[in-house]
Subunit: 248 residues, 2 copies
């Protein structure tokens, strides 16, 4: 396998673990990373607990090229992500003037402003992550990117992260095709195709619909020519079973 730039997402939030909120940030980030040549290879969902956040960040930032966090950067008592990141890096927090300026644009009573200004605190040596929604920015320290949990804000922040900033490689592309064949039917020939193309990830995903059950076959890799060859092999395999391949 070629050297790939890896990504890891740490989703911080009791609301995901309790089932109250359906996470969608993982899928959004994964797709965005494909475009800038970073492969998401690991994700965790952890609660709003200081020791756990600190330990998880320190473990993951050693193991992966880029680590992203979502959640816990609002103004309330359960928003402790900035504190935990600072602790993980052994840095102090300070009020970043650019974030403070954005927060102070909207007037508020002193007590409310004090809570909102918690969102301006970043660890020393951080670089900001722009927030095109106009709200407070996120921040990057080392290889850790700290972003909002609200999907609209998180997506805005992700849109500003370039391939250069993330050290990404070639974009990850995919091909896919479906057939009304069971996974059991295609298992052996599929394994043979995978063996011939070790640099491409070939997955099979069963589906169950009103009109029958079948399997979607998905190839992922960075070499478009090889993906096209492999797609043709998979299509021929399907035709060999007397079935019509269709667009997944």
């Amino acid at each position: 396998m070629k050297k790939v730039t890896t990504g890891c997402l740490i989703i911080i939030g009791n609301e995901i673990l309790s089932g109250r909120t359906q996470d969608t940030n993982l899928q959004h980030l994964a797709k965005a990373l494909n475009e800038v040549g970073v492969r998401m290879v690991h994700a965790r969902v952890i609660p709003d607990v200081e020791d756990i956040i600190v330990e998880t960040v320190n473990e993951c930032r050693k193991a992966y090229d880029n680590v992203f966090t979502t959640g816990g950067i609002g103004p309330t008592h359960d928003d402790i992500t900035a504190d935990c990141i600072a602790k993980a890096f052994g840095k102090a927090l300070y009020l970043h003037p650019d974030i403070e300026a954005i927060i102070r644009k909207r007037e508020a009573p002193p007590e409310v402003m004090a809570s909102r200004l918690r969102m301006a605190r970043v660890p020393e040596d951080s670089v900001l992550i722009d927030n095109p929604t106009g709200g407070p920015q996120g921040f990057q320290i080392g290889n850790v990117y700290v972003m909002a949990g609200v999907p609209m804000v998180m997506q805005a922040m992700v849109s500003t992260l370039t391939k250069e900033r993330l050290g990404g490689g070639e974009p990850v592309r995919s091909r896919s095709v479906g057939a009304y064949l069971s996974e059991g039917q295609v298992a052996v020939p599929l394994g043979e195709i995978q063996d011939r193309h070790p640099d491409v990830d070939l997955g099979s995903y069963p589906f169950y619909r009103q009109d029958g059950y079948g399997t979607n076959l998905v190839m992922r890799g960075t070499d478009e020519a090889e993906l096209d060859v492999m797609l043709e092999e998979v299509r021929q395999m399907i035709v060999g079973f007397g079935q019509e391949p269709f667009e997944d």
Copy 2:
């Protein structure tokens, strides 16, 4: 905090990490576990790679009361979960006669049957997890519950896991209320309410709608009387800001 029975979900599947598939199993399992008094406190998403699966299972089964896995138990080359669980426990795989019987009910050519019978392999000392869809069962070994990744099948398997089997405690209940107040506005009084009720988890979740922005406030715990007291405190706080609390 009272002793709680903990749960951890390991989502096995490149298709989740690549962004191709939106996971919904975490939310479904989390809600089901609330009902049987088990708290999901950790989740991971990992690729279909043997060493990673084995290591993750061994790490998590020591750390949490119940560990659940989804994905990787189909008949194809990338379905390696059963092999990895067996390796993690130092057990051999064998063909379970009850699963084999279900698979053989549907006729198939020998090669296809051989692939499908991969799904009958379970580690020694496993106990089956029923599959009310009529397909192959999952299995439990020690405190690890191995289930399908397809949501319909996974949900059917989860529906068979009782409080007694999982060693669950009191069901986790929640109360929630919304207000057109920013998180910054409620931050200080909310922190005070949380401090008075350390056994209840109080979270605040901002929302942005056409008619304005606001915050949903969610309380989670096992003591219904305390939840009701706390809900009333939160409602009074909202009224104190001159706002009308509404159903979340």
